[in-house]
């Protein structure tokens, strides 16, 4: 199942401590549960600039405006392309279900003036040609992995737990991940991904995070695929949380209206 953007913002970063005083006794599993349980808002809107860089150093920048709502059972995302000019107002909507049902996805192509449903199995793993899979952006439940606290160390100015998470699911695309978790707010600040053959694959960096409307929110993040020498940088701006986006924003009709 695909997890959304929203969860990305909230979960990669949104790791607020439940019981700060007990850190010294926490084990790997408890740390990752604390990361998972960090509260997030129920809706979010903002702009996203996504910069893709390939191994030749060529760059592509895409700007989108996105709206996300999550009522606990369905997470709905609506995105409008702002640039490049020839795809302006192309919109993409996805509904992803907590019960594990396949996502529903729609795309509106203004040049065709038609909204089309897209169905896709797990093949479309990478989000819009970036180095992020939908899974990377989503909220992977801590029960799906075995966690070990490897060590505690400083990452930059932050005191971190270093937790290794090994998948319980054979054939999962990552054999393991290693996460540097900020002790102060349970935001994962860095994560290394290892492929099925246990070789280093990608590294996720969080460059900037802020408290917005009471929620820790990631504003700048970068994924570096070291095997392909390809990187994706995401910068969020004008982020607003819990503004009360109406549910009728997430309809096929509103996709055609543009932003």
């Amino acid at each position: 199942m695909k997890k959304s953007q929203f969860a990305a913002l909230v979960l990669l970063a949104g790791l607020i401590s439940l019981a700060q005083p007990v850190w010294s006794q926490m084990n790997g599993k408890q740390i990752m549960e604390a990361v998972y349980a960090r509260p997030s808002g129920s809706d979010l809107q903002g702009d996203l600039a996504m910069t893709l860089t390939n191994k030749q150093g060529d760059e592509r920048v895409r700007q989108l405006r996105q709206f996300i709502t999550d009522n606990g059972s369905i997470e709905k995302t609506l995105m409008f392309f702002l640039s490049p000019a020839d795809v302006r107002n192309t919109s993409f909507m996805s509904w992803s279900y907590a019960d594990g049902k396949d996502d529903d996805q729609w795309i509106y192509l203004p040049a065709l003036k038609r909204t089309k449903r897209i169905s896709s199995d797990s093949k479309g793993d990478y989000f819009m040609g970036s180095d992020f899979t939908y899974d990377d952006l989503g909220d992977r439940h801590p029960d799906e992995d075995n966690h070990t606290l490897l060590r505690e160390e400083k990452l930059g100015n932050y005191d971190c737990f270093v937790v290794e998470s090994t998948t319980k699911q054979p054939g999962y695309m990552y054999s393991k991940t290693i996460t540097w978790v900020n002790k102060d707010n349970f935001i994962g600040l860095k994560r290394e991904f290892y492929d099925e053959a246990k070789m280093p694959l990608k590294t996720l960096y969080i460059h900037k995070f802020e408290k917005i409307n009471g929620f820790w929110t990631i504003l700048e993040t970068e994924m570096v695929n070291t095997q392909k020498n390809h990187r994706t940088k995401m910068v969020f701006s004008n982020v607003k949380i819990n503004q009360g986006i109406p549910d009728n924003k997430f309809t096929e009709r509103s996709m055609t209206l543009g932003q």
Binding site: A111, S119, S120, K123, G124
Partner: protein, 759 residues
């Protein structure tokens, strides 16, 4: 006293030579290495290669290993589909491949349109078993042009797994591993392995391997023939030593300098054998004649006379030959520069052995038993003398034949071509050729040409005018006989346009709307695997990669396709787009062109140098010109005949014409030098010709017979390029030999050189 000192000297020379040989032999054992990576052969800074390498990096262009799974009953059953899945997954897990580079029906995106949307799925993940699902899969494949005819044959009986490989990853061990791997999936299906890396790798391996078995046989035959003409174990032994030691020194020096052995380096011993035996034969021939004429002469006298008379021609022939090979330094191809330089070194080493080691051997081992020497004086009445007279009598015939052959050769030279095909180096009946033909029968082709389009401006490649032109170009070039398929960004857009219009065939074309195209691409990126797009275009749509598949890697077929592609160049330029080529097939084409060009350049240069050197040696320009006749004729006939018979040259056979220089010059110098000596001794022109023909002519004949018979052995090689090598060396020897004793001799006779004062 004098004899004792000479004896010590002889032993000293022999010991030193063998000690150095042991040293070089040790270097070979310790440090020798083969270079099989064909990219290392190419001049890295040549613009065509620089460009191609760059483009290969842009679009991840690699040669692929092809594994074909054939089921005569059709592949749409759970057993065969399971095998396709297993082969794909297991190849992806091999360290030699990157997972994304392994493509099959199992990994392919199936983009299909429905009434209300777009469906991007795999054709299958779990192997289907119900007849209904299998039927659905079959129809999915048959309605998807991006898969049908590309990954599954149109008849539905063969499926391909394509695994792109880095150039350096291929080795014979790896090939064996893949073959065994493929074989493990057989029954009832048949599994085949083919592809450019397999063909290139096998050739780089098979050529030298075959040479390793053939060279000892060649040497053995040469030993036998040498013995037959020399009638002496000692003479045969020491002549052979010259060849063997010079080869060991040459390869030892290569190893010492840490220079790898390239495929063309196998030509070094070939040249050294052909050239090295000459000195020995001429020396012994002279020695025999001296002993015949001077019964009771001592060993010291015989050796002294031999050296006195022969050091000059032996040195002259060796130096000129070496300089001829050094002219190969003008080639742009590194292995050929090394070939020229080190063959030159080997020739000089052979000269040192001939002048020092052979006399030492004679001294230590003694001369031939006197009784085996015929007492009859052949000089005036023997075969050589008769032949000399006959040539004079039939001078018109000799000249006419030479002129006719020369004219035909010049016509033929215009038609000489070098075939960059790797495949055509194998027997038609070999597995490699058969597999390739099998795959070509069902798919677009095992060879590819990549056409790289570039523009200064962003977005040009996704403009509808560009895409429509690309599409038209693909259709037109595909009409060329051996072109079986093509692939470009246009195919993606056509497919998307069709599926977004509910699979309506009328929309299987490039739409006229640039924004729609941009949105299709965005949609593809969001739903399919964007990596696929970067194999056909780049981030800002300034570049595109258009792949043509060919059912042959023959240079002529490649060129036909290129001619059809070039037609579109002006129209592309109108859109601000430049056109270039990339990929291994194109590189091979350029590379072989460079070899041929370099070879002809170096031959022309050698001939000029030779004319100058002979002029210098005999202090007469006419002699320089006459002396170059065998060289020129050999080179002309060698290329001319190939051109006339439409037999393509290959990378190694192109080099054989160098032998024309090495051999032709030797024959000419020995002959002229001897002619000069006799002219001074006798002052009689006819007698001089008779004597020269009996002396030098005899040695030249022996030399030619020995080498021709030796190299004819290669006709029994299992590797076709080595067969052509044998045939060509023999043919060149024959031409040099015949040209020397007929037309060159006639020209010397007619020019009255050395007799000026009297006539």
């Amino acid at each position: 006293m004098k004899e004792n000192r000479m004896k010590t000297m002889a032993w000293l020379i022999i010991s030193v030579c063998f000690l150095i040989t042991i040293f070089f032999g040790y270097q070979i054992v310790q440090k020798s290495r083969m270079e099989t990576d064909l990219d290392k052969y190419m001049p890295q800074d040549h613009p065509a290669f620089v460009y191609s390498d760059q483009a290969e990096a842009w679009f991840n262009i690699k040669d692929g290993i092809l594994i074909a799974v054939e089921n005569e009953q059709g592949i749409y059953n759970s057993g065969t589909l399971q095998k396709i899945k297993d082969i794909t997954l297991q190849l992806q897990a091999m360290p030699e491949f990157e997972a994304a580079d392994v493509v099959s029906l199992f990994t392919a995106d199936n983009i299909v349109g429905t009434e209300d949307g777009l469906d991007v799925r795999s054709f299958y993940r779990e192997v289907p078993s119900s007849a209904e699902v299998l039927k659905k899969l079959q129809s999915d494949v048959e309605t998807n042009e991006m898969v049908h005819g590309r990954l599954v044959s149109e008849k539905g009986n063969v499926a391909l797994v394509v695994a792109a490989l880095n150039d350096t990853a291929f080795s014979m061990e790896f090939y064996q591993k893949i073959l065994a791997f493929a074989k493990s999936f057989e029954g009832p299906e048949k599994v085949y392995v083919a592809g450019v890396p397999v063909v290139e790798g096998t050739m780089a391996f098979l050529g030298p391997k075959d040479m390793k078995t053939m060279v000892p046989i060649v040497v053995l035959v040469i030993v036998l023939v040498l013995y037959t003409v020399m009638r002496s174990v000692r003479n045969t032994f020491s002549t052979l030593m010259v060849v063997l030691l010079s080869t060991i020194w040459t390869f030892g020096l290569l190893a010492l300098l840490n220079i790898p052995i390239y495929a063309v380096s196998i030509m070094i011993p070939v040249m050294l054998i052909a050239i090295g035996v000459a000195d020995g034969i001429h020396l012994y021939s002279h020695l025999d004649l001296f002993l015949m004429e001077n019964k009771g002469a001592t060993k010291v006298q015989a050796i002294t006379n031999m050296l006195k008379n022969m050091w000059k021609p032996v040195m002259m022939t060796s130096v000129t030959t070496a300089i001829g090979f050094i002219s190969l330094l003008t080639s742009e191809v590194l292995p050929i520069k090394y070939f020229g330089l080190f063959t030159a070194f080997g020739v000089m080493a052979a000269m040192v052995f001939s002048l020092f080691l052979i006399p030492s051997f004679i001294f230590v081992l003694g001369t031939k038993k006197q009784k085996t020497l015929k007492t009859k004086d052949q000089s005036h009445t023997g075969f050589g003398a008769d032949f000399a007279v006959k040539v004079l009598k039939n001078k018109v015939l000799v000249i006419s034949i030479t002129v006719i052959l020369g004219v035909f050769s010049i016509v033929g030279i215009g038609k000489v071509w070098i075939n960059s095909s790797f495949l055509e180096n194998f027997e038609k009946s070999s597995d490699i050729v058969q597999t390739d033909a099998f795959i070509n029968q069902y798919f677009g082709g095992t060879s590819t040409i990549n056409v790289i389009l570039e523009s200064e401006n962003e977005g040009v490649m996704t403009k509808h005018e560009t895409l429509q032109l690309l599409s038209e170009m693909q259709l037109n070039v595909e009409k060329v006989e051996k072109v079986g398929g093509s692939f470009s960004i246009a195919d993606y857009i056509k497919r998307m346009n069709k599926v977004m219009h509910a699979d309506d065939e009328d929309y299987n074309k490039i739409p006229d709307d640039d924004e729609l195209i941009a949105q299709y691409l965005l949609l593809y990126e969001m739903s399919g695997d964007p990596e696929n797009l970067w194999k056909v275009t780049d981030y800002d749509s300034k570049k595109a990669n258009l792949t043509f598949q060919l059912k042959s890697d023959n240079s002529k077929e490649l060129k036909k396709a290129i001619v059809a592609i070039e037609i579109f160049k002006p129209r592309l330029e109108e859109l601000g787009i430049s056109l270039n080529y990339a990929g291994s097939g194109y590189k091979a084409l350029v590379f072989t062109g460079l070899i041929l060009e370099g070879q002809i350049k170096s031959l022309v240069m050698s001939v000029i140098i030779i004319i100058l050197l002979i002029t210098l040696m005999f202090r007469k320009f006419t002699i320089g010109l006459i002396g170059s006749v065998p060289v020129v004729l050999t080179a002309l006939l060698s290329f001319g005949l190939m051109g006339l018979l439409n037999i393509p040259l290959s990378t190694t056979t192109a080099l054989i014409s160098s032998i024309a220089v090495g051999i032709g010059i030797d024959y000419a110098i020995h002959f002229i030098e001897r002619y000069k000596i006799y002219s001074q001794e006798t002052g009689d022109k006819l007698l001089t010709t008779k004597l020269t023909m009996s002396h030098s002519g005899r040695a030249i004949t022996f030399n030619a017979v020995v080498v021709i018979l030796g190299f004819l052995v290669l006709l029994f090689s299992v590797f076709p390029p080595n067969r052509s090598l044998g045939a060509l060396v023999s043919f060149n020897m024959l031409t040099s030999f015949v040209a020397t004793v007929t037309i060159m001799y006639l020209l010397i006779y007619k020019s009255n050189i050395f007799f000026k004062k009297k006539s």
